[in-house]
């Protein structure tokens, strides 16, 4: 169930101005990465969190981003790569070189 915010002053998407009372959903989806990275200023971060409390849909979007990130982590290759023979040979030559 979507809970609408208290006031909607019709700000268009784009930067959050100092006068903005709250974050809209359209703004939120552009702020989500900064939010995860911890690079939002305190005021904007608070506004994002307030929005997330009130907006289940953006909370869903946030969770989907988290799922995407975790899934990406699962794509990394677990097999340890082996150095090519040429490189190992060069290394052995080092080992056998006179001191």
């Amino acid at each position: 169930m979507h809970h609408a915010g208290a006031s909607h002053d019709g700000h268009s998407a784009g930067e959050l101005s100092v006068a903005d009372a709250e974050v809209t959903c359209r703004q939120f989806v552009e702020l989500v990465t900064d939010y995860f990275e911890g690079t939002l200023d305190v005021r904007t971060s608070d506004q994002v969190e307030e929005h997330l409390v009130m907006c289940d849909w953006c909370a869903t979007y946030l969770e989907q981003m988290q799922t995407t990130i975790v899934a990406l982590g699962q794509l990394s290759d677990p097999t340890p790569p082996q150095p090519p023979d040429t490189v190992l040979a060069a290394l052995r030559a080092r080992r056998n070189a006179p001191p």
Partner: protein, 219 residues
Amino acid sequence: MSAEHPGSAGAFTGSDERLLASLRAGDENTFRELFARHYPTMKRIARGYVSSDAVAEEVVQETWLAVVSGIERFQRRSALTTWIFSILINQARTHCARERRAMPFSSLAPSDADDPSVDPDRFQQDDEAWPGHWATPPRPWQKPERRLLSLESRERLKHALGQLPERQRLIVGLRDVEGLSAEEVCDRLALSQENQRVLLHRGRSRLRAVLEEYFDAAA
């Protein structure tokens, strides 16, 4: 141009000293560990510059050969890792120039900055009841377990990652697949934090949208 940068973000440390000694002695175990630790990252970065996986592997191989042959001359002006990655980038650039491709990372392309993360039509317009709020909101994904994806959806994600614009693919690959920190990525690629974040944001947003399509179709 020297590959070492005095005062660079990665400074030569005590553990670097031990690593340097092992490498100079030709210690294979230490080398294999170092190689394995950095290979996925190096390959991803090289792949951002050249036209194929095979060429990227060549670039990485040549880099390690240069590391082994240059290790005696290394002067501790930066961390070993910083030095290794700057060799990599130089090698990648040489190959890139040979292939006559455009150099990545010289600037953030306009298209990288301008794409919205979500189709603007999914939000209410300024003349509607709640401007900026969802018109077509995201629906929760039906997953077997919280945050665990099926093999099929993971394949879809993998494919989509490969389809991302090169720079987004590289940043998402390094940050989210290989798990490097923002600082590490910016250091390896000489990229600003902000540009790195923009690319990460665009890439992740596209991939979320791909998964959303998948889950909406499956529902």
